[in-house]
Symmetry: C2
Subunit: 226 residues, 2 copies
DNA sequence: TCGCATGGCTAACAGTCATTAGCTTCGCGC
DNA sequence: GCGCGAAGCTAATGACTGTTAGCCATGCGA
């Protein structure tokens, strides 16, 4: 009953408290994190509230003390996701105007996001169809279009500047986007390549893909981990 | 109440019969086709038997006269899908041994499949997690691995022959695969590029990606449609 | 010490859905 | 004409699940 110490194991018996640290304030975040992982593994429709509850140590109905609905979880996760990718890309492409460098920066941001936030990325890619129709869905679709357009623009600028040799800029941009997004499906932190090495490799590939030949400019090779 | 004639216009008016041609034997195929489309659009779990039934003009329980279960539909569709991609790739890479040409052929087959059978491809990519565990799932996973390995092998052979300049063959093969698979997500038959033009373009991109410089060899440009 | 907000639980509801049971009709071979 | 299988339908079942209602413990502020 002693207020403070009773919560987080006084001194002699450290374990048996169900909530070890005072992360009660972050309960909602904890739920969101759990939901993200389970949504990705089983899909939105394949995920039960009971499963999310189990992951955070409570029963399904208790989740509603922290969250309005299952759909709200999806909306919040997707919102967070799309905002983050976007910010990363804008920060990357805004910094320079030299075509090759801009392409490298864009690809780096794209791949880095898909490697470091692969769960968010996978959710964004797979669960769009489970967002209830409405203004939020429209917003997400618009932001997605804007993201793609930004990549197309990078390629087209390079072509216009005579630096890239590309027959179909839109399709080539799509190829770049797709090959970067694929990373989130198979990348493992404990794999052959570190995130940095991967990012560097992909920005090389991007430069090759658009037919610009100074493959080394603009980035420093972080080295192989293999 | 009159049994025969009341239902389907006797003999003088040939059309109004609900089942126009004798495709009754193909009812199962018809159901499979409908299921494929709806599975892709709404996801396996988001698809009801009622929806599939509606697409072929019957109520959900009637489907069970032609099909054992919903899961069987998925299994059969995925089986068909994986077999087809595989055959296409084997046919493509088996024909030659020159690295660049082999790469071109592999990429062509890969992209062509993902453009021409985009529904099958999307199903294979998205609904793996809805296959019930068992020997069939194992088979699919194994075939998938084999498919990826075939691509890796093409890249590695080119590197070994000194024709490709690639730092990380596995990762590069992944990039090639991912960028080709992405096609099935956005490709539209009525878009800017025809399938042939797309396939040619992607095989060019592939050659560039691996750092082989004879981008024109081995394929004839089918021309732009734009 | 008391009350109340917080956050948990169980029970119950309402809806959905795959699947089964059982009935009817149609068309074909005899 | 007749029987039968094919193929459809409606009704029912049984399981699951998102969500709500309502109850209880805890701990903090007054």
């Amino acid at each position: 009953m002693t207020p403070g110490p009773s919560r987080e194991a006084p001194a002699d018996s450290p374990a048996p408290t169900p909530i070890p640290i005072s992360k009660a304030r972050n309960r909602r975040t904890e739920i969101l994190d759990a939901a993200l992982e389970i949504f990705v593994r089983h899909g939105y429709l394949g995920t039960t509230m009971e499963a999310i509850g189990e992951a955070v140590g409570m029963r399904a109905p208790s989740l509603y003390k922290h969250v309005r609905s299952k759909q709200e979880l999806l909306v919040e996760l997707m919102s967070r996701s799309i905002t983050e990718v976007h910010a990363a890309l804008d920060a990357a492409t805004g910094s320079t105007s030299a075509p090759v460098l801009r392409l490298r920066r864009a690809m780096e941001a794209h791949v880095r996001y898909h490697a470091e936030h692969c769960l968010d990325a996978l959710l964004g890619a797979n669960e769009l169809s489970n967002l209830e129709p409405g203004p939020f869905l429209e917003r997400i679709l618009a932001e997605r279009d804007r993201y793609e357009a930004a990549f197309v623009e990078v390629v087209e600028c390079g072509v216009a500047a005579g630096v890239f040799t590309v027959e179909h800029p839109k399709t080539t941009a799509r190829a770049l986007l797709d090959m970067g997004s694929g990373v989130s499906v198979w990348f493992r932190r404990d794999g052959e390549l570190s995130v940095d090495a991967l990012v560097y490799h992909y920005s090389d590939l991007a430069v090759r893909l658009v037919g610009a030949d100074d493959a080394g400019a603009g980035s420093t090779n972080p080295g192989r981990i293999t």
